[in-house]
């Protein structure tokens, strides 16, 4: 018995020592583990605030954001507003040097002004830093044409494009065209002939109009002006003297306004993009030339009544060349953002090749700007509808401004919105019969010069 006593005590002591050692080990391990965990989630606890306008892409992105939050430890507060509301709020927020947002949408029509005014952070500082961005992220993978609006004169990057728009031609009633013996138009002249041939034909539920468009004439008219050899400015972005009264501009205006007034539906001047799309997908109008997402609805929308007779193709070329418009929307970081590195982490993740490919695969969302994904077999498979490779057309047009010369430079002039308003009014004057094209464009030229001078531009 006595001999067992020390043994028991010894065993107890050993257990005690083991327990103490284990406690020390666990506590030491845990103190070592915390920094390790913290290193794995360097942004733990950061609340990232961002804003953009309501778009299908962000609705999709929201489903993936919890993954990002789990990876980084951040929480993302993404505020979405309507396009005009967002632009109003963002303009005020950025131009007053606000720091409420860590990242924001860089709106195409405002990008030039925001970049020129230095309201955004230079993203090259992040994308060129290997500690922050792996080489595989590859900024050069973004379609160059889509990136142009977010570059300053020195070539620095202030935004990365998440959405692209490429002007394509939607034809809804190839059945009527066949009946009338006309082919899909490839030139301006042919476009006029096709509109004339189809206009007024019985489409089953009433007469069909040859052409339809919306009230965004500052977007629709320039490709015609360029197709006739002109531009909105003399040499944008360096020489921004308006060129609205040149023979090319007048000829293009006459052509475009003829399409609207002779072959457009009644009240076409008041048409919104929605109404124009509705006219197209219901087969009430034959041709609508607009960004891809608007015209491909003929093939993809459940409301489309023309899926069997619809065709999407490149817009016709003018006598002096082919200049379909393209645009994009970007993500950027406000200059005074509080969490720039965290914001970059979010942008980097959002626009990574991996997530972009996943979004395309999971949802079929087509208007992305990473070339490697657009050229992938998966993208081609998803975006080939009725045997038409929409993705190929989209990429061609999106990249065109970087191929020859940047003919979309007129949109990067920060005073463009002023000229856009003038152009809209000029077209309305002609279509409503108030003025002939030449007179209206001469008046537009004077108005544009006045607006630019009042805005402080030296013209």
């Amino acid at each position: 018995m006595r001999t067992t006593e020390p043994l028991r005590i010894d065993a107890q002591r050993r257990r005690l020592i083991k327990a103490a050692a284990a406690t020390v080990a666990v506590s030491a391990g845990s103190t070592l583990a915390f920094p390790a965990l913290a290193q794995a989630k360097p942004f733990a606890g950061v609340k990232l605030r961002g804003a953009a306008y309501q778009h299908g892409f962000f609705n999709i992105l929201r489903k993936y954001i919890p993954e990002f939050e789990a990876q980084t430890g951040m929480t993302v507060d993404l505020q979405l507003s309507a396009f005009p509301v967002y632009n109003q709020q963002a303009d005020l927020e950025l131009s007053s040097g606000g720091s409420a947002w860590d990242f924001c949408n860089v709106t195409f029509i405002l990008a030039a002004r925001w970049v020129a005014a230095g309201l955004l952070a230079n993203l090259d500082d992040f994308s060129n830093d290997r500690k922050l961005t792996p080489a595989s992220w590859n900024p050069d993978d973004f379609v160059k044409g889509a990136q142009l609006p977010y570059l300053d004169k020195a070539g620095k990057t202030f935004g990365y494009s998440w959405e692209g728009g490429a002007m394509l031609m939607g034809i809804s009633r190839t059945d009527l065209m066949k009946k009338r013996g006309v082919e899909a138009p490839r030139t301006f002249d042919e476009l006029m002939k096709v509109c004339e041939a189809v206009n007024g034909q019985d489409g089953g539920s009433g007469p069909v109009t040859g052409f339809v468009s919306s009230n965004l004439h500052h977007w629709f008219l320039p490709p015609y002006i360029q197709g006739y050899g002109g531009d909105l400015f003399v040499n944008p972005p360096t020489d921004i003297k308006p060129a609205l009264d040149t023979p090319a501009s007048i000829e293009a205006t006459a052509f475009y306004t003829t399409l609207l007034s002779k072959y457009g539906p009644q009240g076409v001047l008041g048409y919104t993009e929605d109404q124009a799309r509705a006219a197209l997908i219901s087969g009430r109008s034959n041709i609508f030339i607009h960004s891809s997402s608007w015209v491909t609805a003929m093939l993809t929308s459940p409301d489309s009544k023309v899926k069997d007779t619809a065709r999407v193709m490149r817009m016709p070329a003018g006598p002096k060349g082919d200049f379909p418009a393209s645009n994009s929307q970007g993500l950027g970081i406000p200059k005074n953002a509080k969490n720039k590195e965290a914001a970059w982490e979010f942008i980097k993740w959002t626009l990574s090749p991996e997530l972009t490919a996943r979004i395309v695969k999971d949802t079929g969302h087509p208007s992305i700007c990473r070339r490697s994904v657009i050229e992938s077999a998966e993208y081609k498979r998803i975006n080939t509808v009725n045997g038409q490779d929409i993705g190929k057309l989209y990429l061609e047009v999106l990249d065109m401004p970087s191929k020859t010369h940047n003919y979309m430079a007129y949109r990067t002039v920060k005073e463009f919105p002023l000229i856009g308003d003038v152009v809209n009014k000029a077209v309305e004057r002609v279509v409503s019969g108030q003025m002939p094209p030449a007179e209206s464009m001469k008046s537009a030229q004077e108005a544009a010069l006045g607006s630019l001078r009042r805005a402080g531009a030296k013209v």
């Binding site: 306008y53 396009f83 509301v85």
Partner: protein, 278 residues
């Protein structure tokens, strides 16, 4: 105009009897159009020519609910009601004081109070935006209530002053002689005589706050977004959700109509008080 002359007029101008219904139809047409649009199935909304008869749907109202419109609606209600109450609480005593004040500078002070209503709201936008950002009032109901109250206060003072002017001071003096205290005089004699004015003023204040789009657009983001801004949020980049816009518009109009109907009697008498002398 006597009834005999009215009859003669009707005989001479048969169209006169139709004038009121026609004018009424013209005035109500936009509202009725909006209302029918809110019950129209989406594919029929942009149909041309438009259909008058269709099977109504509640899809747009359900969509509004799902899109979080009720929160914006509640924001509008709270900011409008609270700012109206606050403006009345502060403005009525001020209007009474201005009415009873006989010193020099009364007109100048009154004019000074009205200055905030004279300038366009855009003139105050940037200062308010910057101040609110600094004070942390951006995107808060408190911020909206303060600004609506600020803009409604001159309206209350200027609208209520003539009503208090119309209350004979001799009544107040008699009550004071009978031993009533000032609060009793004010709340039991003066205020009941100005009920119509309070009703009319409160409606106008409520309408100003309820219908405001500009300040709500600039000073809110998501948390304090009001109904008018929420309606605009259905104008998406990829297309306008006409059905939801119509449903939201109809709902935004409803409280104003109900409120106006409830106090119509007071509103008419309040707005026309003092129009006829003698």
């Amino acid at each position: 105009m006597t009834s005999q002359r009215m009859l003669a007029l009707r005989r001479r101008w048969p169209l006169a009897r139709w004038a009121v219904p026609i004018i009424l139809l013209v005035m109500l047409l936009p509202f009725l159009w909006l209302l029918q649009m809110s019950f129209k199935p989406t594919p029929l909304i942009l149909e041309f020519p438009p259909r008058v008869f269709f099977t109504p749907t509640l899809e747009h109202y359900v969509g509004l609910w799902q899109a979080g419109f009720p929160e914006s609606f509640v924001n509008s209600l709270i900011t409008s009601i609270v700012s109206t109450v606050l403006a009345l609480l502060l403005g009525i005593p001020a209007a009474y004081a201005l009415s009873r004040w006989t010193g020099r500078g009364r007109f100048g002070l009154g004019l000074g109070i009205l200055l905030t209503r004279m300038a366009p709201p855009i003139a105050f936008t940037i200062p308010f935006f910057l101040a609110y950002r600094w004070l942390g009032l951006l995107d808060t109901r408190t911020g909206l209530i303060l600004i609506y109250m600020t803009f409604n206060l001159p309206l209350v003072i200027w609208m209520m002053q003539p009503f208090f002017d119309a209350v004979p001071e001799s009544l107040e003096e008699a009550a004071l002689m009978d031993g009533a205290g000032f609060p009793t005089v004010f709340f039991e004699i003066v205020m009941p005589m100005a009920t119509a004015g309070i009703a009319a003023t409160s409606i106008l204040c409520f309408l100003y706050a309820w219908n405001d789009f500009f300040f709500a657009l600039i000073l809110t983001r998501t948390d304090a977004r009001t109904a008018p801004v929420a309606v605009v949020n259905f104008m998406n980049y990829e297309g306008w959700e006409w059905g939801k816009i119509a449903a939201g518009g109809s709902l935004v109009m409803a409280p104003v109509l109900v409120f106006s109907m409830l106090v119509r009697r007071y509103l008419v008498s309040g707005l026309t008080a003092g129009a006829v002398k003698g």
